[in-house]
Every structure is written in structure tokens, then in C-alpha cells.
Symmetry: C2
Subunit: 238 residues, 2 copies
């Protein structure tokens, strides 16, 4: 393995540093039940470190040692909270499942509105939001897992049911976000088109000029979606 140079900067939150920080919190709290809170803190720290690793190092290089290092926790402590590497990943998967849905909802808030029809600029905004969505850490980390699951049975078995559930809930959210879009098959098609396209653009990190090209494609996409929406609307009204 040869890690990315750029990631060396914050490679090690030292264990001491973390301890000090925790001590401060302890004094502030100074009551019972502190242990449970502390435990939850390290669990969270480990999961967030794992997500960092997935993003910066990729699934294959996300080793227990590196995760612990990123989290500022000893490997022993980590293995105490999570019995195996895959247990961490599994917890991360559940975490991302919820987080991604929440983030999408937040990004898409106020795009459509039951009282007003969709306008072109609102569609453009939704496309832009979708692009932001696939550039979020949560998406990138989750995507890393999805891709790794192609050739890793254990991961696949954990991820497949979660992903199925996610897609289902995701589309439900989409329906809520676009209440005007009543013809379901068209909305499904539009949704798939947006998602596949965004995923494709997001994963084209090596493409020259990716961002400019992405912007151009998103313009075309927004035009297309507006036409599709209008056509559906016409059909519905006829």
C-alpha cells in the first residue's frame, strides 16, 4: 500500500491529546452516568474516524490500526467497543444510512411546495442540490462501501439489505419533495436518471475538467427534467 501523501497532516490525533480533552469534559460533567457518555463518545469517535479513512484511504486501506489512530484511540480500546473490523464497518453503515437520508431531506427542503407548481429554477435548484448531495462525505464514504461490496461477500451481505431499504426510503422522500410530480413512472425515471448521472459524475475523479463538464451536463439535465415534468403535467391535465 502507498497512501496518499496529502493525508499525512492529520494522521494521528495522539492518544494523549484525546485523553486530555476527555478529562476536561469529565470535570465539567462531574456526575454519575459519565462512563456511559464516555463510552458513547469513543464509539462515535471511532465511527467518524472510520468514515474519514474510507474517504481518504479507501475501504481496502481502512485497517483497524489506522482507524484507531485517526480516532485517537488505542487499538485495544477499539477492539473493546467493536469485536472486529467488520463490526465497525457495520456500525458505520447504519450510521450513514440514517445520515444520508437526513442530509438529502435537508438539501431538498423547500424545493417543491404543494401550493405552487414546480418552476424551472426550482428544478435547477434541485439538480444543484443533488450534486451537493453526492459530494458530501457521507455519500463518498457510503459509495466506497458499495463499490467494495462488489467483490467482498461479507460486506455485501451486510450492505445489500441496507441499500435496498435505503433506496426505498430515498424514493419515498423524493415523492414528498416533489408532490406535484404525480405520474410515478416518470418521476421514477427522472429520479433514476438524476441519481445514475450524479453517481457517474461523482465517481469520475480522474476525468479532466470534471467540474466544468459536470456543470454543463447539469444544465442539460435541468432542461430535460423541466420538459419531462411539463409533459407529464400536460398529460395529467388533459
Amino acid at each position: 500500500m502507498k497512501l496518499d501523501n496529502k493525508s499525512n497532516e492529520l494522521l494521528g490525533k495522539s492518544i494523549q491529546a484525546r485523553k486530555k480533552k476527555i478529562d476536561e469534559k469529565k470535570i465539567a460533567r462531574n456526575e454519575k452516568g459519565w462512563q456511559a457518555e464516555k463510552s458513547a463518545m469513543t464509539r462515535t469517535a471511532i465511527m467518524e474516524a472510520a468514515i474519514d479513512c474510507l474517504i481518504k484511504l479507501g475501504y481496502a486501506n481502512t485497517t483497524t490500526a489506522l482507524m484507531a489512530d485517526y480516532a485517537g484511540v488505542s487499538r485495544g480500546a477499539m477492539m473493546h467497543h467493536f469485536p472486529s473490523r467488520l463490526a465497525v464497518i457495520s456500525a458505520v453503515i447504519d450510521h450513514l444510512h440514517a445520515l444520508r437520508l437526513a442530509e438529502y431531506s435537508e438539501l431538498m427542503a423547500n424545493i417543491d411546495d404543494p401550493n405552487r407548481k414546480l418552476t424551472k429554477s426550482r428544478i435547477q435548484a434541485s439538480v444543484k442540490a443533488a450534486w451537493e448531495y453526492v459530494n458530501k462525505p457521507s455519500f463518498i464514504a457510503y459509495q466506497e462501501l458499495l463499490l467494495a461490496a462488489r467483490t467482498d461477500v461479507e460486506l455485501y451481505e451486510i450492505l445489500a439489505p441496507v441499500e435496498a431499504d435505503f433506496e426505498s426510503q430515498f424514493f419515498n422522500t423524493v415523492k414528498e419533495v416533489f408532490p406535484h410530480w404525480e405520474r410515478l413512472s416518470f418521476l421514477e425515471g427522472a429520479h433514476d436518471m438524476v441519481q445514475f448521472l450524479m453517481k457517474g459524475m461523482s465517481l469520475s475523479h480522474l476525468s479532466v475538467n470534471r467540474n466544468a463538464r459536470a456543470r454543463r451536463v447539469m444544465k442539460l439535465l435541468a432542461d430535460y427534467l423541466y420538459n419531462l415534468y411539463s409533459a407529464v403535467d400536460l398529460i395529467d391535465e388533459s
Copy 2:
């Protein structure tokens, strides 16, 4: 690592089997220059095995031992032809570079024609061909490398220039395939849209019902492209 169960079937072309096969060829040839040919054969066998591994096991699990095993070659022999694991990968990259361009050209042959305008059915055919293209082993293997390069500097440094060259040549081919499409910026946009979309669909292995959804999206895409093409055409003729 926990490999995919399905791949156990043809995990080991035994070395003996390969030797026998080579001997047969030797008797048939029975001239000078045989050594060079034999050497080229094993080189090729190793590269093809590497591609198989990338597809079935993923970049991270494509170890020297497994590549040699898949190729029916001893690890020693392999290290004789390629000094390091990365040397194999590098050779594979060059191989795929040429192969993918050739395959694309072949798939797109006879789509457009300088003497006839593009029809809707021809555009549909080109979309279908693009989908076949991203489902080819060459694409999948190359994609695996592109994705791994995100977090592997050494791989990145080999792949980045090749990828830049590929995209450039790729688009040149596209221009040849669609001689009628004269407004370049529109062709670029259409091309990017198709490629990003295909990539996104190709990499959505875990999506439920992927193929059906892909078909529906491709229908929408073909409609859109035809409209885009027609609009350009109108502009050009005005």
C-alpha cells in the same frame, strides 16, 4: 479478505495443464524464434489473468499469488516477466487503453453515416451500444483501476496521464462516429451525459432492479438525445 464464493470454480489453471498446452504449440511451431513467442504468451496470460482478478476480486485482492494462479504460471515466472505487482498493473493499463478504444469503435461502427442523417433508431442503437460498452470486461477492469486510483498515489500517477489520453482519443472517435453532429459543444455535452450516466448505471450493482431501471433510463436518454440533436440540426440549418 473474504473472496467471492462464486469464483472458486476456475481459481487454478494448474501449472502442469498450462505446460502441456504450451508443449503442443511448440511441436506445431518447431522453428526458431519460439522462445520469444512463448515469452509473449505467458506475458499475455498474466495480463489476462490480472484482468480477470480485477473483475472478480477487485483491485485490493488482486495479489501476485492470485494473478499467477489464475494465469497458470508460477509466481517466480511471473516476477521474471514483471518486476513488481505494479508493473503488471501498468502493463494491463496500457493493454486496456488500446483495447477499450478498439471495442468502442467496433460497437459504434455503422451507427452514423456521412451520407445519411441520424435517425432516432440510430440514436437508440448508439445508446444500447454504449450500455454494452460499459458492461464489457475491459471497462469493468479499467473502472476498478480508476476507482482504486482515488486513494492509491502510485496507481494514480500511472493512470492519470493514460486516462487523459484516453478521454481525448475517445472523444475523437465519437466525432468520427457522429459526423453529422457538428455543433461541438452540444456533442460534448451529449457525450458527457451518456458517459456519466452509463458509468453511474454500471457501478450501481447493488441497486434493486438495476437492469430494468437502466433500460427505462436509456429510453428517456435516447429521446432526449434525439431532441438535442434535432435542435442542433435546426440551428445549423437556419
